[in-house]
Symmetry: C2
Subunit: 195 residues, 2 copies
Amino acid sequence: MSSVKPDRRINRTRETLFHALSALMLEKRYDDITVQDIIDRANVGRSTFYAHYQDKEDLAVSTMITILDSLTDTMEQSNTDPRQFLPGRGLFEHIREHHQMFKTLTSGRGLDLFFQKGQEYWSERLATRLQAMLPQNQEPKVPIPILAHYVSGTFVTLLKWWIDNKMPYTSDRMAEIVEQLVTPSVQAGLFGMSG
Amino acid sequence: MSSVKPDRRINRTRETLFHALSALMLEKRYDDITVQDIIDRANVGRSTFYAHYQDKEDLAVSTMITILDSLTDTMEQSNTDPRQFLPGRGLFEHIREHHQMFKTLTSGRGLDLFFQKGQEYWSERLATRLQAMLPQNQEPKVPIPILAHYVSGTFVTLLKWWIDNKMPYTSDRMAEIVEQLVTPSVQAGLFGMSG
DNA sequence: TAAGATAACGAACAGTTTGTTTTGTTTGCA
DNA sequence: TGCAAACAAAACAAACTGTTCGTTATCTTA
């Protein structure tokens, strides 16, 4: 068993490529960015790029997954109560702090993929939590998968709106709004309108 | 004033191109489809394509706008009461009838653009209706633009879920679910939780 | 139905972008 | 120091794009 240490250059190159892509996405649409643009900006050889990633999309997706993981960590940390189905307020705050990055990821209709992946990701986690809120053997008014999809969809939709509109409200206010909108729906969806 | 009749060939070519794109989107991702693929499939000359559309995206967007207009017509027809903010049930039914087309438009993560455009489109219309529901000079708990975005977002999200999951519920049931989820939220968003 | 107009065809074109390959250089690490 | 891995640079074929232009097919209208 040879303990081979990974060459530091690898991560450095990957980071450089990520930053180059991010910077470029601030300037033009994702579709209009070429591999040539990326490697020029990153000062990385063409062959090196293809040694690390299959193509442009591969780079983009890898980048997104990384971000999504860190985001989800934040989400879980700020909210350990399984009865609480909404992402904690910390999430909006976290995003505000890194808004440049998210602006990057979403501007120019760049990566709807990011939101799509995020929604799937969260939808699965929510389904579990919602199921747990329901007394055993009780049928929900609205099927759980739809409910989960609805909640994560709402969250993603409003998150996107917030970013696209240059964050006109504080992160706390946004979290409050999401809560105000989603809570009564979930109540209704699980237990029915009036008890 | 010369009464020049439009040449039928124009519409025929456009329709042919639309169908070719639709068919191709069932086979591969939108991004992977080339203009070459489209004109081969459509048996249309290269120069003819560029005489009608600027590029591939132009064709796709034109097609979408056409469909969106017809969809919105259906929506408005089945629902003339300005106090009623939800798309009528007829919309789900209409989509079910043309599900092949919508499958085409949305499969392979083809045109998120379609949903995006649809959401913007409906969001504007909804804002007006929501404003009308509010007594004059009364401040809503949640800003109207957010509320409008939320409703249209929910609708689009669930519509997409419905299509992606092969329409496991009837169109009536889906319309009912949307209603059950959105109504209490809008109540809360406009007037507050309990009066 | 013939003439004129318009639309479509198809080939050829330069310019890009892509992904691969080859060769030589730099860097990390033992 | 020396080796192996990572990288740079350049050249390459293949594919796609968008345009041009001469030719052919089709429609409209007189």
